[in-house]
């Protein structure tokens, strides 16, 4: 069995890390944000140059110069952020840069046929000639995986491939991964979902702060041991979270009466008290995000009545919501959240500045103080506030967006998948922060695909299905099974 060895001694982001991958193995690479997982992958794919160490593939030393070169060497990668061209067709995306040529012309028939075949393996039946932008994020993710798999790769790197997939799609992906494994491909699997780690991987490598913590066989380590080795803290501290206590005299914060946007979400009715954490569960596309966007005015609410703090309001655009002291951290951080080229300071100050209006600019001093305050409070990992936000890791970007909205001191904070794609430590931090803010009287709407965190934090849970509210549960004594039954449609109606 020939392996691959990589060593990078002397790199700051990675300090003397060894990593090996066997043929026909799924090897999970784990660690918190900034632990060095991405850096390791970037060395392997030639995005970053390493300062020391060497990479061997099947016993021969290789030096990938860029991702294309790495691909030619047999190392194929699916990056966390989808790197596809929206406006090209699905088939074009799969074959971009390596179109089969027949008689000097691109062989479109061949491209379409092979794309269709490839996607069949993932049990995806879509029209490959239609533009990619017409399909959901999940499908797009599958397409980028399909593209990586189709290249004749010896090593496949999957960086958070499941974060935008629902359970069914994850299962399909895993089937494909098993296939590939059986064919002898080595797979490096990066994920924050520990269950998936144990389901899929043979071995695990844990990194922390650029150091190698250990390599384990998946069947020889428990989940708890794994988590503590990843974050280097005691677990009790992390999972010792308590739901925010409800004050009996709490006033009503939000009162939604049959609100909806035709074709997206319809007939949503619910209410929320001050200091209450309301969880929204449901599958992707069930209307969770659409409801949040409607409450914040990203899409205009067309039906129903909405009362904020007892007063009927009309919310036509985000500014209206901000004026009613509502804040919203969107699901798609890259598209709707960060302003990449601006600094952390500017990103934090932006929402507050927008509310104050153009003519009342915040002084530089005020911005600096604001930024420093939240960098400390949320322990955002950055040398200073003048770094561009796009240079931060995902978890830290999320914290900056959170800071942006906390700075507006909202009464109602809507968080759409705030913990997606970030590590266990940062996740626990964000959850603790949410609960703390609820204790202080803020109301929070918390949308998440991870049922355990919804159950752990929420006072009440609203379950969505097919653009409608399918049920409502009390957070105190509900189980994942309760929620899943409602999602699956076995049980209906109000059970609060």
């Amino acid at each position: 069995m020939k392996g691959i060895e990589i060593q990078f001694p002397g790199v700051k982001a990675l300090d003397g890390v060894d990593f090996s991958l066997r043929r026909g193995e799924v090897h999970a690479l784990l660690g918190e944000n900034g632990a060095g997982k991405s850096t390791l992958i970037k060395c392997l794919t030639g995005v970053n140059k390493m300062d020391a160490g060497k990479i061997e593939l099947e016993g021969k030393e290789i030096r990938p110069t860029d991702p294309k070169n790495a691909m030619d060497l047999g190392i194929s990668t699916v990056f966390q952020e989808i790197n596809l061209c929206d406006n090209l067709s699905v088939a074009e995306n799969i074959f971009i840069g390596r179109q089969p040529i027949r008689r000097g012309q691109i062989d479109w028939k061949e491209i379409n046929r092979r794309s269709q075949e490839l996607l069949e393996r993932f049990k995806i039946h879509i029209d490959v000639t239609r533009p990619l932008s017409q399909y959901s994020t999940a499908i797009q993710q599958m397409v980028s995986i399909a593209r990586a798999v189709d290249v004749d790769a010896k090593v496949l790197i999957l960086d958070e491939p499941t974060s935008s997939l629902d359970n069914e799609e994850v299962k399909r992906l895993f089937d494909v991964m098993r296939d590939l494994k059986a064919q002898g491909m080595g797979i490096i699997f990066i994920t924050h979902f520990l269950d998936q780690v144990f389901e899929m991987s043979d071995r695990l490598t844990v990194l922390r702060n650029g150091h190698l913590i250990g390599v384990y066989n998946a069947n020889e380590i428990t989940k708890l041991e794994l988590v503590s080795s990843m974050i280097g803290k005691d677990l009790d501290e992390i999972f010792d979270l308590k739901r925010a206590a409800q004050k009996p005299d709490a006033k009503m914060m939000l009162d939604a009466d049959h609100i909806g946007v035709p074709g997206k979400v319809e007939d949503i009715s619910f209410n929320q008290k001050q200091g209450e954490l309301l969880g929204f569960a449901g599958l992707l596309g069930s209307g969770r995000t659409e409801t949040a966007e409607m409450l914040f005015g990203v899409t205009k609410m067309q039906n129903g009545d909405l009362k904020v703090a007892g007063i009927p309001v009309k919310i036509g655009e985000p500014m209206d919501a901000i004026n009613h002291k509502i804040a919203f951290c969107p699901e798609d951080r890259k598209r709707d959240g960060i302003i990449g080229d601006l600094t952390i300071r500017e990103n934090i100050a932006l929402a507050l500045q927008a509310r104050r209006g153009m003519m009342k600019p915040m002084s530089r001093k005020e911005q600096d103080e604001l930024a420093d305050k939240y960098i400390k409070m949320l322990s955002i990992a950055t040398p200073d506030a003048e770094k561009k936000i796009k240079e931060l890791s995902g978890g830290n970007q999320q914290k900056v967006i959170l800071a942006r909205w906390m700075a507006t001191e909202p009464d109602l904070l809507i968080l759409d998948e705030p913990t997606r794609g970030i590590d266990v430590g940062a996740k626990a931090e964000i959850q603790r922060l949410m609960l703390q803010m609820c204790e202080e009287g803020m109301s929070i709407i918390f949308i998440s695909s991870e049922l355990d965190e919804i159950i752990r934090c929420s006072n009440r849970i609203i379950v969505m299905r097919d653009g409608k509210k399918a049920g409502e549960l009390s957070g105190e004594n509900c189980t994942q099974a309760d929620i899943m039954r409602i999602i699956a449609g076995e049980k209906d109606g109000e059970t609060a």
């Binding site: 914040f296 990203v298 655009e317 985000p318 500014m319 919501a321 901000i322 919203f328 969107p330 598209r335 709707d336 959240g337 960060i338 302003i339 990449g340 080229d341 601006l342 500017e346 100050a349 932006l350 929402a351 500045q353 927008a354 509310r355 104050r356 209006g357 153009m358 003519m359 009342k360 600019p361 915040m362 600096d368 420093d372 040398p383 200073d384 506030a385 003048e386 770094k387 942006r404």
Partner: protein, 353 residues
Amino acid sequence: MKKSKESIFKSKLAWAVVAELLILLVAGILEPNFFHIEYNATTGMFYGSLIDIVNRSAEITIIAMGMTMVIALGGTDISVGALVAVAGAFALKLLRWDVTLYPTPGDYTIKPFILVILVPLLICTAMGLFNGVLIGKFKLQPIIATLILMVAGRGIAQIATNGKQFTTGYTPFRFIGQGSMFGLPFPIVITIVVCAAVMIFVRKTAFGTFVESVGVNPNASRVTGLKSDKIIMIVYTLTGFLSGVAGLIYSSRISSCDSNNAGVNYEMDAILAVVLGGTSMTGGKFSLVGTIIGSLIIRTITTLVYYFGITSESIMAFKAVIILIVIVIQSEPVGKWLATRQARRQKVGELRG
């Protein structure tokens, strides 16, 4: 907290300054008189090549102020040259020096004279707003939206003047482009006022940050509560207004209107000034000071070329070569290369020291 410092080699603004100084240095070596500035007591004005450069760059500098923000928004405005012609045409129409309509000598100028200034500016502002609405509200691509007025603008200018080109001898109007104040040509004074006003508006309010934010990520800006369509409209309207100002200066300089030739290629020069000044065509961060320097670079090259009697046919090519050099030096790979080279040298220096 310590602030991140970008390497000087990555600062495009620094390179623009260096380029301008180098070009001036070359001029100085070849022609020592180049820097000579003379005060003429009878006209009360300073004369010299440097004054001339700043004076002649006025139109492009003024337009480029607006263009900087247009580009920061990720857009472009190719109608500015046509708007220059529009402003001139309407000003001359209101001055009424058309000998076929007013054959006997006399003062037919629309009174009060201020209308001759305000009406063209108002028309150009409205045209800028038209661009802004198409781009901000109807989400047309900026190059297509402004193409409409680029073509139609000259047509409107032709209609306003019945396709004729009249000249004027009206002194108050000629003062705009040919007069002087504080010993400086009046266009320089206008430029200083306009640049100062735009900079104060952009940097002393939050407008600059909003423009950069919308330019980098319009979606996220909207979700953060910025009204991006409004910001887009303000920027294009402002650019329309500034093109009008430039148009008045231009037509006053030549005491005439010329719907076909006024402001031709101004859009290209303005875009070039912005890019030379270090603002990226992809939008985002912008530098108004950089733009002013960019505009000066363009004019310095042109002046230099005229000064040394290079034939007018080869001016374009000569200009292109110099601009090419400046832009390549500013480009990211070259900046990185120089920065690493410098870092390496420092290391070697430390080892030796």
